[in-house]
Assembly symmetry: C2
Homo-oligomer: 284 residues x 2
């Protein structure tokens, strides 16, 4: 029977471990703390913020919510960011993206302190990810995919993994993380020829192409493990993944559902990255 | 008939174009300049240095050779590096690696000015390469592979490319550069299962595994384009690639010879990167 790789047990296990870590730091009079910086009142940002706060509350990570006007100047934005960069009581900083258009994201990304950059925004963290530096922070969604594969003990070493999509928030980082686990990694995308055939060679298929139910039965190798990163809303307002659920059910050995899969692990990963930042900043 | 993708015509064409660029800058009273920093007297470094100086002389790029004692302290090494970082007359800096063991390469890499880092040493340049930032500097060898493929008008978009090897000096950067050209890119390595079969699916095969004549006839798809990055010295002192020449001759449509292939393009690529650095530093 096809197995569902649900996110909740993964998030629960991570949360349990994070709670222990938080306690360890609190005993040393250090309170792991995350600053969230949000410009304006975008519904997506606010929903993610609520989910982060809920998760962090449940594990004992303190959250500082810094809300600035949507029309804030870049200099004023830097003042807010710099204050948290320089605050030794803040271990992690997440800036909600995309930023309002007048703020130059390609400049702002260089302003966040790399050591507090728990969402992998600064290019130096991308560089560390590429070089395999263990102090790297990768974005939370690719890390969530890896946590799910690890939790369910999916063998990666030597296996063929296919990443569908090459964005900086999912495709490229997850490809590097799979490579670091000794998978043989292929990155495919909209320009790939014979995409269904290429995909169907993969033991592990990570779909992050952002197209609702794009992956059909002919894309999936029988017995493959499928991680679906897509979050698409259909015309009836229902959430759909990048993978047709019936296809995964039919062909895969196991797959992450949408909703209830990858997306439900990201806030736990974020809290875990705050603890990693805290540990790196308080090394003896 | 199997075609040889020789490096010399590529290096010659690059050199011609660089000479024009140098002239353009000289007319503006700017002399494109590269600093080479070498610690000690390693034969490999000195051979590479001679080749760089010869190429740069031929295209009009000025070279400053900075030779420091092999036992130099990290602080003194930084003083030398900082002087060239801060010298507006120096556009590019190459530090010969590996550095002597007592110098911490993982710290030194952060000290080179990213804008002058023409050999892609600083992690921020790795990050820019990953994000696709056009101001990135990639290491010279992967860039040489790309220049050869471009010169001989090899179609990359939509094609399957296999990179054998995942080092930071060749494998990972060349994979990203191929991906940026819309190839479907697979990175394979020593842990890959059924490596010959995986390799033989590739329209473009880049061998950078550092094992003499590792790629045999069963690794090569009939009609593939093969780029051989290997430089291995056999027991008779002859240079051998990572690909068995007879296998490439037998199966490939075209391949880069060793010697006379990728290796003969790297110094021209380095000179080209100095001109890129010069242009970025003198933007109007």
């Amino acid at each position: 029977m096809t197995k569902l790789l649900k996110g909740k047990p993964v998030a629960d296990a991570l949360s349990e471990s994070i709670r222990n870590d938080v306690q360890h730091w609190q005993e040393k009079k250090i309170q792991p703390t995350l600053t969230l910086i949000r410009a304006g009142e975008k519904a997506d940002d606010m929903a993610y913020e609520r989910a982060i706060i809920k998760r962090c509350d449940s594990v004992g990570v303190k959250v500082i919510s810094e809300v600035v006007p949507e029309n804030i100047s870049q200099d004023d934005f830097y003042k807010v960011l710099d204050r948290h960069n320089g605050d030794a009581g803040v271990h992690g900083i997440l800036v909600f993206r995309p930023l309002p258009k007048h703020l130059k994201e390609e400049e702002v990304q260089y302003r966040i302190a790399p050591a507090k950059d728990v969402d992998g925004f600064h290019p130096v963290n991308a560089g560390k990810l590429l070089t395999g530096d263990p102090t790297a922070f990768a974005p939370c969604t690719p890390m969530a995919v890896m946590e799910i594969l690890k939790h369910y003990e999916v063998t990666l070493s030597g296996k063929r993994a296919l990443v569908l999509g090459r964005s900086m928030v999912v495709g490229k980082p997850v490809a590097l993380l799979l490579l670091a686990e000794n998978a043989t990694v292929t990155v495919a995308h909209s320009r790939t020829q014979d995409l269904d055939q290429v995909a169907s060679e993969a033991d592990i298929l990570v779909a992050a192409i952002g197209k609702s139910e794009f992956v059909k039965t002919n894309y999936i190798k029988p017995g493959a493990i499928v991680a679906d990163v897509g979050i698409n809303v259909d015309e009836d307002g229902r959430l759909k993944g990048d993978v047709e659920a019936a296809a995964a059910e039919d062909k895969a050995e196991a797959y992450t559902p949408v909703p209830g899969g990858v997306g439900s692990v990201t806030t736990a990963v974020l809290a875990k990255q705050v603890l990693k930042a805290c540990a790196l900043q308080n090394k003896q």
